[in-house]
């Protein structure tokens, strides 16, 4: 294990925002460090508002960070690019483009030949189980289908790492479970390194090799929980004692953090 090089290294990452009204800045992260192995599935969980999504945007290079370093395959991340695939929350498809045209976006921006891009897109649309829907517009698809397109759009650029920002948050419980199982299937086929942000503890444990638990703001890593449940995992895994114990453990950390941040807000007079 130690001889393998890490896919992604996050070293002492810090970020603060200046609020518009006052001159004082809000510290979002303080010294976040962890390493991700190739083809590993990592989830980030934490109390709401702790900056998980901001963290993911920084990993993609969409937002600059203040201090520390992000290394992807040994190279520093400074701006977005096709080496990272971003899967956004709901309704991020371009509504004036068909499924096919949405999926080729990443290739189009790189200037890939249109015919080649379309061929490739058809393959990825089939991979996410949407063959036959190439000419549909996003508003003609259900929420789950839209997120499949979203996933195909990120996979087609063949990224080194897949960054997923609560992609199933707006789906109903049944669709969400199906999408989780399908995501694992696709992950197994593509062997991508995945960083998955979610607020659902169950989802994080079911999908991941390791779950990174963030503290309340300013966010630090509270604990990295290893999920030793054998793969492939069926949805029934969620009822195992092992699984439930892990979920309890993660939940207790987050609960502690939520209470802590509520206490602080009361002191500061926000609540």
């Amino acid at each position: 294990m130690e001889t393998r090089t890490s896919k992604l290294v996050v070293e002492n990452l810090c970020k603060s925002f200046r609020t518009q009204r006052s001159e004082e800045s809000i510290q979002v992260f303080e010294g976040i460090s962890f390493e991700v192995h190739p083809s590993e599935f990592i989830s980030l969980v934490g109390p709401s508002g702790c900056g998980k999504t901001t963290f993911l945007r920084i990993l993609d290079g969409l937002i600059p960070h203040d201090d520390g370093e992000i290394l992807l395959d040994g190279k520093a991340v400074i701006k977005p690019g096709p080496d990272k695939g971003f899967v956004f929350q709901e309704s991020s498809l371009l509504p004036w483009r068909t499924v096919l045209d949405n999926v080729i976006l990443g290739l189009e921006l790189q200037g890939v030949d249109n015919r080649k891009a379309r061929k490739k897109a058809e393959r990825y649309i089939a991979l996410v189980g949407l063959a036959g829907f190439e000419r549909h517009y996003p508003h003609e698809l259900s929420g789950g289908m839209q997120q499949r397109v979203n996933l195909a759009r990120a996979l087609i650029v063949d990224p080194q790492v897949l960054l997923m920002d609560e992609p199933f948050a707006s789906l109903d419980a049944q669709t969400r479970e199906i999408m989780q199982a399908e995501l694992l299937k696709m992950w197994n086929q593509t062997k991508k390194t995945v960083i998955f942000v979610t607020h659902q503890i169950e989802e994080a444990i079911y999908l991941s090799d390791r779950v990174v638990v963030f503290s309340a703001r300013p966010a630090k890593i509270r604990e990295i929980v290893k999920v030793d449940i054998s793969r492939p995992r069926s949805l029934n895994v969620k009822r195992n004692k092992e699984f439930l114990d892990l979920a309890d453990h993660v939940w207790s950390i987050i609960q502690e953090e939520v209470l802590k941040s509520m206490g602080r807000e009361r002191e500061e007079g926000i609540l």
Partner: protein, 283 residues
């Protein structure tokens, strides 16, 4: 879907269609106009005055249309008005869209321009028309300027709102996949703002037609507005109505054309609107 056996006969379906009803409504309206004319002409009130100095019947309007068409007068006036409309409207597009875009994207410039835009927008163009005549005299150029002033603001303001309301998450998508600022502009901002910009163009058409007439009322040597004014001063309502009818037809045609353009340029948008109206009709 109805089953084939229960489907209405085609003729009956056509009679019940919304287009057919609209056509009937217009024909009945014109019929009432004709009858009212005949009835009024027989009242004792018009015993001493000739009614044709005050009102023209639809039949007379058609006849006058033929006369004016044959003499070439109608063509001459329409040609002048059309030129004023085209020049003024094109200028409004060429200025309105870029300025609206700059105001939406450059905060500092917006601070300078916003008060001016608000002021001139609030000014009735009717009030500006006479002084523009004083400055530039009579002719196509000053009239086009009035048309420009009337049409530019709906275009400018709709472009502004259109660009302002471009969804930020969509911009972020293109950026996340490595899109350059140019690509963000062409692949997100323009298509996302297009429906609003075209709505601005549609509103501008109506105001431009009004401005053509207003400008010609104040001073012109030719044009449909001038024709309407000229003949009403001489108590000849026939040509007056011909002028109005031509203006109405022109307005409807341009408006419909832009409505179609909205469909071609952003099919997804037209599709959504159509679905919504369809749903409303169902309820």
């Amino acid at each position: 879907m109805k089953s084939a056996a229960k489907r209405e006969p085609l003729v009956q379906a056509w009679l019940r269609s919304s287009r057919m009803i609209a056509a009937c409504s217009v024909i009945v309206g014109i019929g009432i106009w004709q009858l009212a004319y005949e009835a009024l002409a027989r009242t004792h009130y018009f015993k001493d005055y000739a009614i044709y100095h005050f009102l023209a019947s639809p039949l007379q309007v058609i006849q006058t249309f033929g006369d004016l068409y044959r003499s070439g007068e109608l063509f001459r006036h329409s040609y002048f008005s059309l030129l004023e409309f085209v020049y003024g409207f094109l200028l409004a597009v060429v200025i309105g869209i870029p300025v609206g875009f700059i105001m939406a994207t450059q905060k500092k410039i917006n601070y300078y321009l916003d008060p001016w835009v608000s002021c001139i927008y609030a000014t009735p163009t009717v009030a500006l028309a006479p002084i523009i005549m004083v400055w530039f005299g009579l002719g196509i150029f000053p009239n086009s300027l009035v048309v420009f002033l009337g049409a530019v603001f709906p275009i400018l303001l709709n472009t502004y709102t259109g660009i302002k309301s471009v969804r930020r998450n969509l911009i972020e998508v293109v950026r996340a996949f490595g899109g350059s600022p140019m690509q963000v502009f062409f692949k997100v901002m323009i298509p996302d703002a297009a429906p609003a910009i075209i709505t601005g163009l549609r509103l501008a058409v109506g105001r431009a037609v009004i401005s053509v007439v207003v400008a010609e009322l104040f001073g012109a040597e030719a044009g449909l507005g001038y024709m309407v004014y000229f003949y009403s001063q001489r108590f000849l309502p026939g040509p007056v109505f011909v002028g109005i009818v031509v203006l109405v037809i022109f307005g409807i045609l341009t408006f419909t054309l832009l409505e179609k353009a909205q469909g071609w340029l952003s099919p997804w948008y037209a599709h959504q609107v159509k679905r919504q109206t369809h749903r409303m009709e169902m309820e």
